[in-house]
Structures are given as C-alpha cells and as structure tokens.
Amino acid sequence: MNEQDSTEFGATAVRLDQGHIEGHGGIPERFANPGLPAHTPRMADLSDAGAKRAERQVVALFTLSILGTVAFLASYFLIGLDRTIFIPGIGEMGASNAALGVSMALTLLGIGFGAVHWAKTLMPDEEVVEMRHPLRSSDEARQAVVTTLTDGGEASQITRRPMIKYTLGGALGLMALPVIVPVVGGLAPWRSPAEELSLTFWDGGESTGGHAPTFKAMRLMRDPQNTPIKAEDVTIGSVFHVMPEGLLPDLETGEGGAKHQLEEKAKAAVLLMRLNPDDIKSQKERDWGYQGIVAYSKICTHVGCPVGLYEQQTHHLLCPCHQSTFDVTDDCKVIFGPAKRALPQLPITVDAEGYLVSKAPFAEPIGPSFWERD
C-alpha cells in the first residue's frame, strides 16, 4: 500500500468524546490482527466412521439424482398431457408438468446437494491463504506503454502530418452515418403521425394512412356481437362496449370489418352508459348524449389502457392500469389518479329506426397525450 494510508484521514484520529485516552509507553495505537483461528476438525476428519458416513450420504444424494432422472423419463413417456393431479396445499394442476418438474428437480438437487455435501464433509476445509498483489503495473511498465504509443504515433508521422489526422478523424466519424441512416431512416415515419393519432374510425372509416375520411353517422355496435343498439335497450346503470359500424367482422363468418382491425379498435373503443339525465352535471354532456345515454372513449388519457371498470353507484370509471378515475356525471373529468385530461365524449343520437348513431366524431384526439396533439 502507499504512504497515503496513514495520513489521509489520520489513522490516529480518535474522538475525544469516546473516552479517548492518551496512549502511553508500550501500548500500540491499534490492535494487531490475531491471525487465523485454529482449525476445528470435522467428524469426517476425526474418525473413519465419520468419513464413511459422509461418503454414504454423498452417494445417496447422487443415487437420488439418478432415480430422479429415471422418474423424469418415465413421466415423460407415460403421463398424458391431459391428465391433472391434485396436490394438497397447492391445488389442481397438470400431472405431466408437476411430475416432470419434481423429478427433474430431484435430478438436479441430488447432484447439487451431493457435491456441496461432499465439499463440506470430505474435501479439505482448512483455509488457504493467497496473497494479493497491487493491481497497478509498475511505473516502468506504464511508462513503456506511453512510450510505445507516442513512439508509434511518431513513427506513423501522424503528429507531423496533421491533414492525415483530420481526414482520418472525419472519415471515421462519418463512417457511422452509413450504419445509422438506414436504421433510423428505415424505422422513422416519413410523415407526421399526429394526423393519424387524431383520427379514429368514428371520423368516417379507416383512419390508418392519416387521411381524414368524410364523416358519416355510424351506428354504435355491441362488441363483440357486432349488433346495433336501440336506445331503449340501454337501461339506467347498464354499460355497453361499443365499436363503430363497419369495424368489426361478421361474428358468424369472420368476414368484413376494418382492414387494420386492432389498430382501429385501439382508438375507436367506446363505452356506452345510461344515467339519469338529472344526475348529469354538464350541459354539454347532456347535449352530446341522448336522453341520458352517453358515449365516452374507452381509451385512458393517461397511457392508453382500456378504462374497464364502471361503478354503477357512483358513476365513476376506473382505469385498472394506473387507477385514473373519471366522473361520468361530469364530462368524465379526472377526479383521481395520474391522468390529466377527461375522456373524450362521442356525440350520439338515434337514427330513423331508433338505433344509436354517432352525431360527430370525437372532438379531440383520444388516448395518451402527445407533443403536437393540440
């Protein structure tokens, strides 16, 4: 060690309030390391019987491992994947998985415990001392590296011919571009995603591509049945998962529906609820709804999880991901949790046949915020 050892913080520093007593003749400043404790012999060191017993234990563990492997192979070939087994305290489970797991665990644990037990009982347990050496190289070795580098630099003449240095630096620096440009260029969108983020299927159809379609009123369809909803079907307290007409495929044939179904669903999902109109506090909400039936985007304005939990008594919507809570009686404003913005409302009315239809698309982008959303 270097001489800093004793000076840096003063190995002698002692606090006076800790009962410090001046050292006096013959008493060292610090206690001396008393050295390794005496070795305590083990049973296996003391008697042949002890050693023999340890050997038997190790052999038993290794044998257990072999038996585990046999059991594993038997389970693999004999236990059908459809069989179940009841294990007390854990429950009903697949028999194959349980048998394979337990037998393989035996195989592994037998080897593991056997080896460790062997090491602990029979292998030497007297500690061995190895000396450390300073990690740093000698001063000469360090100097030699510096010299080699500077000499090499001299020999290459890079120091004397600076243009080589600059152009090499430039070339190496620019070399990153042919690597990075294709990656970034390939991944990057070449037009602003903002438009597409602001559109939904309710705007009149497919929103992917980011071209605003012409608005048309769409029926509110039950998800996943894909059937239209009559206003009188929506009783007070009920809640419907809704998709726009034309998004979902036919339930029977699986045909039709939007081309980018999941992408459209991720933006168009709507929750339909009916409240007592007198409970609604906002005139806008009443106007955009129909006789107390209101439709709100189901996509949380926090990070986009579906707002799945509706409390009928309090008319609160709760997002199960981060617990943002929205008040359905008051424009779905945030009353608790990390979201900032209210859930966007979908203006609805009924068509000639009495089915609920959209009156206009969402007035603002749904889902999580983004920089250019306004």
Binding site: E29, S96, V129, E130, L197, E263, H322, G367, S369, W371
Partner: protein, 570 residues
C-alpha cells in the same frame, strides 16, 4: 469452536499446514497429463489454467447472491434456446385449433398460438416455459440483492468501481430483457403492458409520436412490435448481457474477490478455499441447487398462465393488471405522479406526469447507482485500494443512504400494487395512493435517521463489548449486599472483528481567512467539502484502541471485569 490460538502473522501458514509438494504422478495423473499435454502443446494454457484452479475464493453466504444471479441467467439462456424452437415471433393472424378447448376457433396472433402450443402440446414445454419465467424473476431478484450486498459492504470502492458500473448496466439490461420477454406471448396481459409502453413513448417531449411510430412501425399495435421485441430479447440484449457479464466475472477474477474482515484476513490476502477441488464442487453443486429449486417451483407453481387471459385485443382489459415485479417501481411511479404535471402551452403538450415516471426514472435510478462510488470517493477523499469489506454498521451514513434509497424504490414498487392492496385489505385506493405520495417524502429521511442511529448504536455496543466484555448472566452478590454481573473478556479473535475498522474523522480545515482577513482562494469549495465530510463522518464512532482497553482494565482494578449493576455502564 475453539478460538484460542497462538499469535502468528495474519497471513502465515499454520504449523501443520503443508505446502504442495511434487509427488510422483500416479496412473490417473499420467493419463490426465497426456490429454492436458496434448492441449497444452497446442495452446500453452497449462499455466493459466493451473493458476485459475488454485485460485482462492473467500467463503461467505452473501457471496452466493451473485452466483444465483449468474446461474439464473444461464438457466434462462438454456431454456430460452429451447423455447425458440417452437415460439413463432409473429403478430400474423391465425385461428387457434390446438388442444386447449376454451380458445378453439378464436382469432389470435401466431405468437400467442405458438405460446399455447408450447404450453399444451409440446411435452415438457410448459415446464421449460415456467422455468424460463421463474429463472428470469430469480435473476433480477438475485442481482438486486447482490447489488445491495456490494453496496452495503462497500465492495464497490477502489479498485472495483468499473465493475460496479458494469453491474449497474447489467441490472438495467436485465429488466429491459425481462420486459421484452414477458411482452412476447401477446396475450391480453402482456399486450396491455405493451400498450402502456406505447403510451410512455408517445408522451416523450417533441418526438414522442415519431418515436412510437418508429418503434411500432406505424399505429399501435401494428405487426412489427412482436418480431422486434423478439430480436431484442433473443439476440441484442442477451449479447450485451453475456458480454458485460463476462467482463464482470473476469474483473472479479483479476481483482480477486473481496472478503469480510476477520482474524487472519487482511487487505493484502485472500483467505478461503481453492477452486480445485472445493469451489469446483461447491459452486458447481450450487448451480444444480439453484437450477433444481427453480425447476421445483416451476413444476408446482404456475406462472403467467397466458391461456387464462386470452389473446391481446386493445379494447378489453383485466383488472389487477400488473407488470413483473422488477418493472413495478416504474409502474408505481406512474400511479403516484399527479395529473397536474401535464402542461399545455404554445400549442404543445408536455406530459411530465408520464415522462418523469416512464422515461426519466429508469435511466435516473441506474445513473445514480452507477455514479455512487465516485461520489463517495470524492466525498471521503479515499483513493486507496480496498479489499476488505466493511460491516454495514461501520459506514453508518452510507448504510443509511442505501436504506433511504431502498425505501424510495420500495414505495414506488408497492405503489404499483395499490389496487391489489386496496382489494386485499379492503381499503380505499385513493387513501392508499395519497399515503404513498406522502410516504415518498416523509419515509426516506425517517429511514435514513433511524438506520444511522441503529448503526451508531451497534458500533457503540461493539465498543462496549470490547471494553467491558461479554455479559455472562452470572450475578454476584458482594459482602456489602450489592449485586453485580460478571463480565467476561472476549478473546482476541472475537475482538478483532469489532476493532479492525479504521477510525475516521471529519475533514478539518484551517482558517478560511488569513491574518489580513483575505479569504483563501478556494475557501468556498473547501467549506462545502467540509460540510459534506461532516455529513458523512460527523457522528462516527471509532473503534476501541488498545490504550482505551488498557484504561478500562485499570478502572476495574480488583473487580475482575465485573460491572456493578447499580453503577450502570461506563
């Protein structure tokens, strides 16, 4: 165990210790020598291998934490290779026709269908899947606790700062790898996780929407995210993990393992057992034990039963959607950040309620971790090599800082379970969330203070034990009628652990102004330094010195190490 021993140099050999002597090789040795000779003729590796086989490792249970992490990672690699044979990393649509009846005929992605196939049709497939998932959880648990051990014992000090930084990067990579992995099956739960991740990305200032489009190849969810996460999960991140992990291990071997202080152990030696045969058996055996335990859990306890959730669809959701535990702290931060942190101005929207928790917190945590050794070294001015660990009590401020940091982390992590806590304890989720918000500001300072006081008390108790000996429980009655307890002096061996650490003192400065009233040029920096030094070392309790012990003996003259109970302690 007998602790009486003759005094001899700390690193000396015992009388009965024998040095390895070159005995005549037996038949087995000759055979082995033949093969080894063939290899050595072509590689010259005998010297290096011989050195490694004799390498000494110190023994302590806490040194196995890193081993558990290493083995769990290897188990993940082995089982992961198995899973790639059947898993189809594609969001392409398919209709499930497999043997799991409830989902037959359901439209889903090929990724989800192939995960169901691994779980229900491939024999042992479910077991391997569960081993993979359990081992991944174990990996992150073990490396986290390993990190705690390294932190609280000061093992990150010079010369091991680089390895601490590598370890921090490994820890970050491990949780990113985990996230990429559990997002692959494309079931409803994992898809909800990806959905939230998309939300995080989308709220990044300025470039959020572009970033999201770039990552997802267009609108969420798209068909690109599963294959991209797959190549990150099986190629990119594992390559980095293995590379950095190798560097981590090589540095441990080069720098030699740290050891706990104790009789015979010094900063210049390593006391322990050689690789051949002891550590080969112990560490090798321990791999099988870790593997065996994970397999046993995987055989008996189901994890991530993806068939229960159904295929991913952006409109439904399951209640109690939770990420795997190691992502919990980021998720919890998102639950605690209030909505008013989103601002709209000049036609743009800045969502700090999300960006802080989702985009800033993760890199911030690992940056703070990574730089800690350098901050502490700057604070303590300690530039020496340290190979002896510190008992956490002997670095009270560090221990307290660490505990405060763990408190913050834990609050975030438990906040991610606020819904579960609300259900299990029948509490209001709003109250719990508000409690966590307050706790975030109140608890860390409290924990810091309590931890520091506990450390100092333990140090004082060590001093007390050294000075006054061990309480024997034997009560003596003096002729005058007083009662006292007999104290027994502890052995030099036992004492050493309590007195070996270095005494410390705060940095003391001279006058900051000279006799003419002119401030020293760097007096401000120095004053700040001193303040930090006082913060770090201010309350230090230093070890007993031989002189103090000697004095304590004098104080007890005639009493033979007894303390009068009425008299109290000195």
């Amino acid at each position: 165990m007998s602790t009486s021993t003759t005094s001899r140099p700390a690193d000396g050999l015992r009388d009965e210790d024998t040095t390895v002597s070159a005995a005549a090789p037996g038949a087995a040795a000759r055979k082995l020598g033949g093969v080894a000779g063939w290899v050595d003729d072509r590689t010259g590796s005998a010297k290096g291998v011989g050195y490694l086989m004799k390498k000494v490792f110190p023994d302590h249970w806490s040194f196995m934490l890193g081993e558990i992490a290493m083995y769990s990672m290897i188990i993940c690699l082995l089982t992961g290779a198995f899973l790639t044979f059947w898993f189809v990393p594609s969001a392409g649509h398919t209709i499930y026709e497999g043997s799991y009846v409830p989902l037959r005929g359901v439209s889903m992605s090929e990724a989800y269908a192939s995960t169901l196939n691994i779980s229900f049709e491939v024999r042992g497939g479910l077991l391997i899947r569960q081993i993979h998932h359990w081992a991944a959880l174990m990996f992150v648990v073990a490396l986290t606790v390993h990190m705690f051990r390294v932190f609280f014992t000061g093992a990150f000090r010079k010369p091991r700062e680089i390895n601490w930084v590598i370890g921090s990067v490994l820890a970050l990579l491990a949780i990113v790898e985990g996230f990429a992995g559990y997002s692959l099956p494309d079931d409803l739960l994992s898809g909800t996780g990806i959905r939230a991740m998309q939300g995080f990305v989308q709220t990044a200032p300025v470039i959020g929407s572009y970033l999201s489009w770039g990552i997802f190849g267009g609108a969420f969810p798209g068909e690109m995210i599963i294959p991209r996460l797959y190549s990150a999960h099986v190629l990119l991140i594992p390559a980095l993990l293995i590379g950095l992990f190798s560097a981590h291990i090589i540095l441990v071997a080069m720098q030699k393992h740290t050891q706990f202080p104790g009789p015979g152990r010094t900063n210049d030696n390593v006391v322990g057992f050689p690789v051949m045969p002891v550590y080969a058996a112990k560490a090798g055996g321990f791999f099988f034990i870790v593997f065996g335990v994970i397999v046993l859990i995987s055989g008996l306890v189901g994890i991530n039963s993806v068939w229960v959730y159904g295929p991913y669809d952006p409109s439904p959701v399951t209640a109690g959607s939770q990420p795997d535990w190691y992502m919990g702290f980021a998720d919890g931060a998102l639950r605690l950040l209030p909505g008013w942190l989103e601002f709209s101005f000049l036609g743009v929207t800045l969502s700090l309620n999300i960006a802080l928790g989702a985009l800033v917190l993760l890199p911030l945590v690992y940056t703070v971790l990574g730089v800690y050794p350098f901050v502490e070294a700057w604070l303590t001015k300690d530039k020496r090599e340290h190979h002896l660990l510190q008992r956490p009590r002997n670095a009270p401020t560090r221990t307290a800082l660490g505990m405060a940091a763990i408190t913050i982390y834990s609050i975030f992590m438990f906040a991610a379970g606020n819904d579960i806590i609300a259900i299990k304890f029948g509490m209001s989720i709003n109250d719990i969330t508000v409690m966590f918000r307050w706790g975030l500001f109140l608890l860390p300072p409290l924990v810091f203070w309590v931890t520091k006081r506990i450390c100092l008390s333990l140090q004082r108790r060590d001093r007390d034990t050294v000075l006054h000996g061990r309480e024997t429980g034997t009560i003596l009655r003096s002729p005058a009628g007083g009662f006292s307890e007999r104290h027994e002096e502890i052995s030099a061996q036992d004492r050493w652990t309590m007195v070996e650490h270095e005494p410390v003192a705060t940095l003391e400065l001279g006058e900051s102004v000279d006799s003419n009233g002119v401030a020293a040029p760097d007096s401000k920096t120095l004053a700040r330094r001193q303040k930090l030094s006082r913060f770090y070392y201010g309350d230090a309790v230093n070890p007993v010195t031989p002189a103090e012990l000697d004095q304590a003996h004098h104080d007890h003259h005639g009493e033979a190490e007894t303390d009068a109970i009425e008299g109290g302690r000195h």
